[in-house]
Symmetry: C3
Subunit: 275 residues, 3 copies
């Protein structure tokens, strides 16, 4: 347990490249050719194509859990070869390499940004640099050199203003808290933009119901098993967001929910409440 070896270099990969093509394999080859000792860890290559918000949401949740010093490469890059800047960020002692399109926005909203650099020093790129695959030609080699010890400011000048990103806003009205579905996960659980904190502050200990267009759910459960199999419930999920789910079934299908659909909390009038 009292190990003396230094922490090994780790590079994680998060992309929308899928796995039917050579894209991911090429990136891994480029990385290992520069830094054969680095550990490559796949986070996912199955992000929805071209979409920034799901990528930002996943990165926010997974990446800070890795050890300090980890280099996270994230490539959802519809603007590749165009005007967007290739970026290196240092956020809370981890490094992030990818296009400047908001993907790192949810991380920056919550955690200290300790540095931002534009990737301009082409000697750290793979040549010739294509216009369609910076994952292989820019981000992979930069990550490998960084993990091998090249200091962040060797890759280019400071970046002034990395793109930010927010979840859609929620709305508080008299007796109601209006949110929406922002992400539907693998199990059909419908995750909203309402955090535990926002819900608690609004509810102030009072009872409430959770409404989707087709369903009224009484309050918040503590686990999926709280309702019979197939029944709808709401709970605060493992990321701290209010989620509408069904026990062992897909809530999106059972309740007809899609991304963007409203989820509204209503206070139960005192006297006929349920806590």
């Amino acid at each position: 347990m009292d190990r003396v070896e230094p922490t090994p270099a780790i590079i994680t990969l998060t992309t929308d490249f899928g796995l039917q093509d050579a894209y991911v394999g090429s990136m891994k080859g480029v990385i290992l050719s520069i830094h054969p000792h680095v550990r490559i860890v796949d986070i996912t290559h199955e992000l929805p194509a071209h979409r920034i918000l799901p990528a930002a949401y996943l990165l926010r949740e997974a990446c800070p859990r890795f050890p300090p010093g980890t280099v996270h490469v994230a490539v959802v890059d519809p603007g590749v070869g165009g005007q967007r800047t290739p970026l290196l960020l240092k956020i809370d002692d981890r490094f992030y390499v990818g296009p400047d399109n908001g993907m790192f926005g949810l991380l920056m909203a919550d955690l200290p940004l300790q540095g931002a650099w534009r990737l301009e020093r082409r000697e750290h790129f793979l040549h010739p640099v294509s216009n369609t695959f910076h994952g292989r030609d820019v981000f992979a080699p930069v990550a490998a050199h960084l993990a091998a010890g090249t200091p962040p400011d060797a890759f280019g000048p400071a970046a002034a203003d990395p793109s930010s990103l927010s979840l859609p806003a929620h709305h508080e009205e008299t007796g109601t808290l209006r949110g929406q579905v922002v992400w539907i996960d693998r199990f059909g659980n419908c995750i909203t933009n309402l955090t535990d904190k926002v819900v608690s502050r609004w509810a102030r200990g009072a009872s409430f119901t959770v409404h989707t267009a087709s369903k009224k759910i009484a309050g918040i459960s503590t686990s999926y098993e709280s309702t019979p199999e197939g029944e709808a419930l709401s709970l605060v999920n493992s990321m701290g967001y209010l989620e509408v789910a069904c026990n062992q079934a897909r809530a999106d299908r059972a309740l007809g929910l899609r991304e963007g659909d409203p989820v509204v909390l209503e206070r139960v009038p005192t006297g006929d409440g349920r806590s």
Copy 2:
């Protein structure tokens, strides 16, 4: 070849989490933050959601092939946050970490169970422990601590009676052996609950035919190429089970087979047989 380094610590991951969400990445981050030197090996994250039998079948086949000492984390966990016990098992010198729901039942049926512990010592968990994601909060950190050298009995008291699991039973009648499809693989091969051993004991060297609802197949072939492209055949697969397949085509579609459908072997009457 005569290496002096100790065998490196290995943790494998097998889940139904898919790869479109942050679940798998979060588990990897938690593991590497506790034990940065461990090798994480993905077995799969594409198990069918909430289903225990396919998970048990896969674990039975893949996990014993890893080196002794490997820590296998397996999470198909519809009962997360409910009554089911989080478990650590030692089976044939490998460790298994996951919910007590039968996933490890096929392993225990065939291989020596050398220890079972309830995961109760919360100092080895990630805090706060959520009610919806024990993969991240319980199983990943326990696996990391175990791989780093914490002894199994430090995680909790002995577990009396881990859940068992069996494949559906087959039935022998005069001249027939009745089995069923228990799993359809990626290629559409229909794997039955009939092992090589059961079939041999029943057939006693005599010829037989293999019947599905729509097809009669003569005896057992030795490879997919034994029939013309697209044609049905049966063979003993690499896991020792009788399988109904088609050469370079999907047997499930070609023969209309689904999980649970009967596959019946009939002895060929002496005299008009074919061996």
Copy 3:
């Protein structure tokens, strides 16, 4: 950066096994049991079942990017258990292990073949050797022993004539260059058999249009963003092939393109050209 440790042994895996079954996990277990220190890198397990050309195309692009000495295991093996030869190749200082069915043909067309051996020495296999899963029983153990230092010629005699493979031929006529779609990637980009080199030599600096059955595209763009969102364009992709794509949309669906469909370049008559 000036590391003294030797380059670690790397084995990559490329298969059409998918991830819902135990096949990939079993191969990893077999490899690590023989050589616990090797790094296993997944290239992909999502190749289309039984198809050689997409596998060959991916291997050609990804594998040469790994460090010299890497052992690449590739298994798309519809002929498993039949007549095809299990093979070990050395191509441009990397090793390739898999069935002799053309999968390595595009690599051999472009890079120096330095050795070829038939895998016949059964003491390096996993026993009993099945007839349906040589990935586990032949290719995985051979790769592990090779990565651990067993010399290539210990696995069997020289192989005379490994299977070759070519992309479909293109056709030059007066003023036209006829190619076809050979692969559609994850994003719906339609990759043709026309390389940058072939196109340049044919065009000799003159302007041309790119025709699919439903669409005429003016010349070659430099990035996806060159057209408005959803619009079709053609470009030379990161692998050096002409590709028909749409900015942030699926060209295969938008233009009704499938593998094998013609893509024809036509020279623009001088005088009304656009360069």
